[in-house]
Amino acid sequence: MSSVTLAGVTGRYGDFTALDAIDLEIAEGEFLTLLGPSGCGKTTTLRLVAGFLEPSRGRVLFDDEDVTHRPPNRRQIGMVFQDYALFPHMTIADNVGFGLRERGVGKAAIRRRVDELLDLVRLPGVQQRYPAQLSGGQRQRVALARAVAHPPRVLLMDEPLGALDLKLREAMQTEIQRIQRTLAITTVYVTHDQTEAMNLSDRIAVMNQGRIEQLATARELYLKPRTRFVADFVGKINFLPVTVDGYAGPDAHAVGLGTAFRVADGAGRPRGPCLLAVRPEQLRLSPAGTPADGCNALDGRIVDVRYSGNLVRCEVEVAGGTPVIVETGPDDPLATAGTAIRLAWAYDRCTLLDDD
């Protein structure tokens, strides 16, 4: 296992800069996810770590070793692909043992290790079968066993669950996490699925247009998004246009939509226009006219209500016609279309972001 460092790495395909001077440090044994929409540079980053792509600038380090110009077959990596990439003409045993054989490990040792790995991924007894005889989930387990066989210094996974259906994807998330923790293997995981990223990762790097927008734990990303893009990409969020007009200790005062707001720890914001961001589940519905004691309040009218079992999602029209989404309990008596209500939320449950 190794730590992985990208120092000022730029990746280009021809004239297109897919990755723009990225700095990234992945600790030994850490599970780090690169999260972002397609074309954000997450796969490029993974391929740079793997060595399939050489950076046009910057360095790639495993521990303190510079591997920038080392070809992928000498980097001691393990890689799991979205389409599994199992060798169709080889048995499962030969697939899993492939890397060991390339490293000159003896036949008996390979057999023992393959048995051990198939036990690890909970697929004992499939040694003599071929990939075509396994289901999608089973193939992905084999791919995982093959990738960690040698064992690698870093495990790279490129949307490994993308081809599976939802139920299987959730089951496989648990499996991947269990195996990653058992082996304590440094892992870089690429996905565009924020739920997957939040379930699995120690830290998540949210990427956009060839840059890392924010690198943080799932909790921090969700509660303290640093940019509008991150706030929008990870979970649902409302943006209210406001203007910062004063400070109170560590908090900021802002006005917008004909209302005054207070944002905890907002003192770092300069005066001027920005966005107040607040998650739908942080908003409480209260009857119109309820005094706003010790929290932010905004008047509006419910225009649409959608029931989805564990919660009710209301669309609220507030001053200026801005739609605000509120998530409340399925039994909330106020959640009826047409009701005039007051939205309330705590000072520390919202944040101020640049309107970019």
Binding site: A50, F52, P71, P72, N73, R74, Q76, I77, G78, M79, F81, D83, A85, L86, F87, P88, H89, T91, F98, G99, E102, R103, Y130, P131, A132, Q133, R146, A147, A149, H150, L156
Partner: protein
Amino acid sequence: MNGRRLPRLLWRAVVAAFVAAFYVFLFAPLVVVVGASFDGGEHAFLNFPPRHLSLAWYLKIPGRYFETLWVSLQLGVVAAACSGVLGVMAALALARGRLPGAGLMAALFRAPLQIPVIVTGFAFLQLFYLASAAGGVPLVGSFAGLAIAHVFITLPYVIGTTAAILQRVNPSLEEAAISLGATRWRTFRRVTLPAILPGVYAGALYAFIVSFGDVPVSMFLAGSRYTTFPVEMFYGMELNFDPAILAMSTLILVGSFAAIWAVQRFLGLNTLLGTGAGS
């Protein structure tokens, strides 16, 4: 119920008749050749159906037919093998390499299919004359000369079949092998080659068939020492036709069917695809 079954039966009968007609169209000429080869009459005509059943003409097949057959078989194997190796290399470079002008090169590699073979034959004859004038290399009428020309006309078949299958081989298979520590050569040997092998075999088989059946190119390049079997047959038909040619053709036919059966039996393309499912 009968009212519904009848049209279906009728339809089946039409299809059966069409299929039968098709097979007659395909096999009738062969039946005539085979049948006539068993006619024992003294006259050197084509008699079908045979009037005097006899193997007489089989015993009168001239030795030069067997000699040239041996030349053609060798030539076919050499052409198929060389085209196989070169074709795989070319297909890999075109499909996987980062070559500037790969499209133009692909078109060039297809060119031998678009040039009339008679022109190809003439061009090689001129080229070989030039070569022997310049360096004293006697290529006209030699096995090497024939082999070079046959590789030229058969190469597109191997490139075509190999490139077609290579396009369907998932590039992440190769990346997976490399990520597991395999060198480029080992990746080719253990992953790419097994995946494209059916295409290579199919292409090499085409190459052999094209080489074995070629008259126009070989006619220009064959000499007194090295003549191919189809050229020899062609001259035989032109100059002194006798039913021995029919007898020889029948033998070739039997040999071809045996070869096709063997290919299906031992190298069947399904098993070559090698997923092993169901095996």
